[in-house]
Amino acid sequence: MTREELPNLAESKLTALVVDDNFVNQSIHQKLLARLGITNEVVCNGKEAVDAHCSGRNYDLILMDMDMPIMNGIQATKRLREMGIESKIAGVTTRANEGEKKEFMEAGLNDFQEKPLTISKLLSILHKFDFYVQT
């Protein structure tokens, strides 16, 4: 897909939360979302993601890393679901063996993508959640 063909989802007014402790990944994931017109925020671990929701913030999409200090992605996903958060949560991690993936999915994910995240993978996530319909 060329730069000119990238969909602009700004009209959909989607919001997203990037949950990742690594600055390189934070930067890339935020840029990916911004290029598609999705407003986004970033936090550094699962606890900050939970705290953001406790303070009343809500997001259409959460990109959740698995390995993070303080509270990892599995713990954070479980906690958010226990709190009744129904946002779409996509796990994004380099850990891809079946056992780890299963554990992450069972925590309450709606989708799982292996890092590194690309435009195609992000569009696949958005398409799965009906946030983006390919024309």
Binding site: R3, N22, F23, V24, N25, S27, I28, K31, L32, R35, D67, T94, K115, P116, L117, T118, I119
Partner: protein, 155 residues
């Protein structure tokens, strides 16, 4: 002036291709380039700068852990190399990522000599990549300063 721009653009194209052919970069670097636009013309340089800062910090952590002779915390080394593997994968630093995989294996098998050797190689490799990308960004700057456009390079 046109001849200078054309020369610089050719140099840039050839150098970029060589970085991929020699295994320094992979497709993920191409993905990063796609994200660069007029609003963030230095996006790739900014992200790779973050990556090299990550390299310094994590390599230093691992070196310190491996320095505790007889009491090496392989778990700490393992978690640091996992982080480094992740960020090298995210920027398309192919050789660095490959070495991280090897280092992780050495760590998992608690192979001390293997870890030390491999970490030295990771250190050399990220510094080599840093120098090469700096050359690439310098070429970009020269093209722009000469009034030309940075060519899109199809790999």
């Amino acid at each position: 002036m046109d001849t200078l721009i054309a020369q610089l653009q050719r140099q840039f194209r050839d150098y970029t291709i060589s970085l991929y052919q020699q295994g320094f970069l992979d497709d993920q670097f191409t993905e990063l380039k796609k994200l660069q636009d007029e609003c963030s013309p230095d996006f790739v340089a900014e992200v790779v700068t973050l990556f090299f800062e990550d390299c310094e910090k994590l390599i230093s952590n691992m070196a310190r852990a491996l320095d505790q002779t007889g009491n090496v915390d392989f778990k700490l080394v393992g978690s640091s190399v996992h982080q480094l593997k992740g960020s090298s994968s995210s920027v398309g630093a192919k050789k660095v990522k490959g070495l991280c995989v090897t280092l992780k294996d050495c760590c998992d098998s608690q192979n001390f000599e293997g870890c030390v050797r491999c970490l030295q190689q990771v250190d050399i490799e990220y510094k080599t990549l840093r120098a090469k990308l700096q050359d690439l960004f310098n070429l970009e700057q020269q093209i722009v300063q000469a009034g030309g456009r940075i060519p899109q390079v199809d790999i």
